[in-house]
């Protein structure tokens, strides 16, 4: 996985690319810390370019959500496709996050 963090008005957007698996746990943690460091009002995770994610990735989103919520920052998952979308639906993440 690699990522790009962008300011987006008073919010922030992080664009994820490639595969998200247990091997990316540390990189994801770092990304999550950076994403909430500037106290954004909302955080969008752009998943359009994420090609694959395994169940470990679900856990990482939950950690991200926890960090963001501690700063009253809602998290939106945006544009999942293919297997990523299937997995998010299987785990009913639409009930935990706003998925657009």
């Amino acid at each position: 996985m690699n990522y790009e963090l962008k300011a987006d008005g008073d919010g922030a957007t992080v664009v994820l690319r490639g595969d998200l698996t247990s091997a990316d746990r540390d990189a994801f943690e770092t990304m999550a810390e950076r994403a909430v460091a500037a106290n954004p009002r909302r955080l969008t995770v752009d998943l359009q370019k994420l090609g694959y994610m395994d169940s470990a990735g679900l856990g990482m989103f939950l950690t991200l959500r926890e960090k963001a919520e501690a700063k009253n920052c809602p998290v939106t998952l945006h544009g999942p496709t293919g297997e990523v979308r299937d997995l998010l639906l299987l785990a009913r993440f639409d009930t935990l996050f706003t998925v657009t």
């Binding site: 169940s55 679900l58 990482m60 950690t63 926890e66 299987l90 785990a91 009930t95």
Partner: protein, 548 residues
């Protein structure tokens, strides 16, 4: 082996003795001679394990060959020395008698020098190989005593030997088990997967090109991707070792006993040897590519819960054993409900985060579950252990939805953020012919029903259990009529192969289900699908099925 190979020549005819001696010396053997059976025994008792092979004449005054054999077989050290029995050209009866007395190698008198040397070399080679196996099994710590059910995959002769040593060490009398087990596992590689026929092996051995040919086939795309499988099961009174290869099979009936017409060959006695020396029962199945070897456990070994050394492997095996039902639990459910339950569990590492289980409810219902903790390895296994403990503390679930909701709450208090369980927890209800279940982010459970030709898919979606308190799961239902099979699996199956560029995927699982619908047992369909993948697998493989 260090130093020269020592052969003891036993023959009452001075000329015969001298001829044998001369040929063996020229070939580099050190020789000892005895003029009759009594003298032979004296030498053997004195030299003990320092003799590598005995060439024994069948007919001798004072003490004949068969009696010498009988005495040797009674001594634990001498019994292991290979004996080549020299019989008359018309001595079919002598061969039968010799086989009964425990001689596995034969030489016809008068002998052809090449045959003498090839059979002696074969006997010595086998002996050296067996001695090494026995020594290694001796050194093996008995830390796997609590291994209850495990599946191993192996590809090479070396892997076959290492596996034989490891598993023989878990059996009583490992020194005798290791020989037969090694023979069966090597057969699965050489004859099964690599397709080397008996005749081809004969020719390759004569040219001393067997090892080279094995390597060439292991390196080839045609044979080299095949894996053989060994399933180890410790039951209440016995250990069952089931060995399956991917070969064409063979007519095993001819090999269960060493037949007099093959007694003079340099090879082909492994199965007879395994049956006679190493196992209490040996039976082939189907076309001969599967064999079940049984080791009966002595009364003292049947006691459950005996303490064992806590080696790393032992711990892993013990942990794994806790996360799946015991054979007795499974059998009890099978008998009470007239169902057949099977499972396939192969963690990516020594331990994984998967578990499954069974619990009785009443006369027409029992609970069945399959779960998968996030991640792999020891951490996931410990989480799975927490899940297992929560499950065990709960009353048998009358209502799977309520049970999973409670379980989620319990886990939420135990697990840190980002760690959770995906699972399916359900009840097989024979009164209503349904499977009622609740699920959390697990691939859909399904029922294949050959009678209607349908594969019915359930719904595995749900928030992973344990990520937060207060999540309520809905109850769902699948029709589960008699004759149908319920199949549960974790998402590991779909991801397996991804690191090697050929993930099994949903399509792979669909293909396995289609095969099962067409009548292939799940066991076989799964083995076939996964056998060719490199080990260790890149994700935990777990599946459970229940046929009504």
């Amino acid at each position: 082996m260090s130093g020269q190979i020592r052969a003891l020549v036993v023959d009452d005819h001075p000329l015969g003795r001298r001829l044998l001696e001369a040929h063996l010396r020229v070939a580099g053997y050190e020789t000892l001679v005895a003029a009759d059976g009594c003298e032979a025994l004296e030498i053997l008792e004195r030299e003990g394990g320092r003799v590598d092979v005995v060439l024994l004449d069948r007919r001798m005054p004072r003490m004949d060959g068969i009696e010498v054999l009988a005495r040797l077989k009674k001594d634990p050290v001498l019994a292991e020395i290979p004996v080549i029995l020299q019989t008359a050209a018309d001595g079919q009866d002598e061969v039968i008698e010799g086989i009964r007395a425990g001689a596995y190698y034969y030489l016809t008198k008068p002998f052809v020098p090449e045959v003498l040397l090839s059979i002696t070399a074969a006997a010595v080679e086998d002996h050296v190989r067996y001695r090494r196996l026995r020594d290694e099994v001796q050194r093996q710590v008995a830390g796997l005593g609590m291994l209850s059910d495990a599946t191993f995959h192996f590809r090479t002769v070396d892997e076959a030997n290492r596996l034989a040593i490891t598993l023989a060490a878990t059996c009583p009398n490992p020194r005798s088990r290791v020989i037969g087990l090694s023979e069966l596992l090597i057969n699965a590689v050489e004859h099964g997967n690599l397709g080397i026929t008996w005749q081809a092996k004969h020719e390759l051995m004569a040219r001393k090109a067997l090892a080279e040919e094995i390597q060439a086939r292991l390196d080839s795309t045609r044979w080299g991707r095949r894996y053989a499988r060994l399933r180890f099961r410790r039951l209440a009174d016995r250990i069952e070792l089931t060995i399956t290869d991917q070969g064409e099979g063979f007519d095993w009936r001819n090999y269960l006993q060493l037949s007099p017409d093959r007694a003079h060959d340099t090879h082909g006695r492994g199965i007879a040897l395994a049956r006679a020396l190493s196992f209490d029962d040996l039976s082939y199945r189907g076309r001969g590519n599967e064999v079940v070897a049984t080791v009966r456990l002595p009364e003292t070994d049947i006691v459950p819960g005996r303490p064992t050394a806590a080696s790393g492997d032992g711990m892993a095996a013990a942990l794994r054993a806790v996360l799946t039902p015991t054979d007795r639990q499974t059998r009890r459910i099978e008998e009470a409900h007239g169902v057949t339950i099977g499972s396939m569990f192969e963690p990516r590492r020594a331990v994984g985060g998967d578990l499954w289980g069974l619990a009785p409810i009443d006369e027409t219902r029992f609970a069945i579950w399959l779960g998968d903790m996030t991640g792999h390895g020891p951490e996931a296994a410990l989480d799975a252990h927490s899940l297992h403990t929560c499950l065990r503390r709960m009353p048998p679930p009358g209502d799977p939805a309520e049970a999973l909701s409670q379980l989620g709450d319990a886990l939420a208090g135990l697990l840190p953020t980002g760690r959770y369980a995906t699972m399916v927890l359900g009840i097989v209800d024979r009164g209503r012919d349904v499977f009622t279940y609740a699920a959390s982010a697990i691939p859909h459970p399904c029922v294949i029903d050959p009678a209607s030709g349908a594969i019915r898919q359930g719904d595995g979606s749900g928030v992973p259990a344990g990520i937060a308190r207060g999540i309520r799961y809905p109850a769902r239902e699948l029709p589960f009529p008699p004759g149908a099979t319920l199949f549960l699996h974790s998402d590991g199956i779909e991801s397996i192969g991804r690191e090697f560029g050929e993930a099994v995927g949903k399509e792979g699982v669909a293909a396995i289900l289609a095969e099962a619908l067409a009548g292939t047992p799940f066991d076989e369909a799964l083995t076939r699908r996964f056998a060719s993948l490199p080990r260790p697998l890149d994700d935990d493989l777990s599946a459970v099925w229940c046929r009504r």
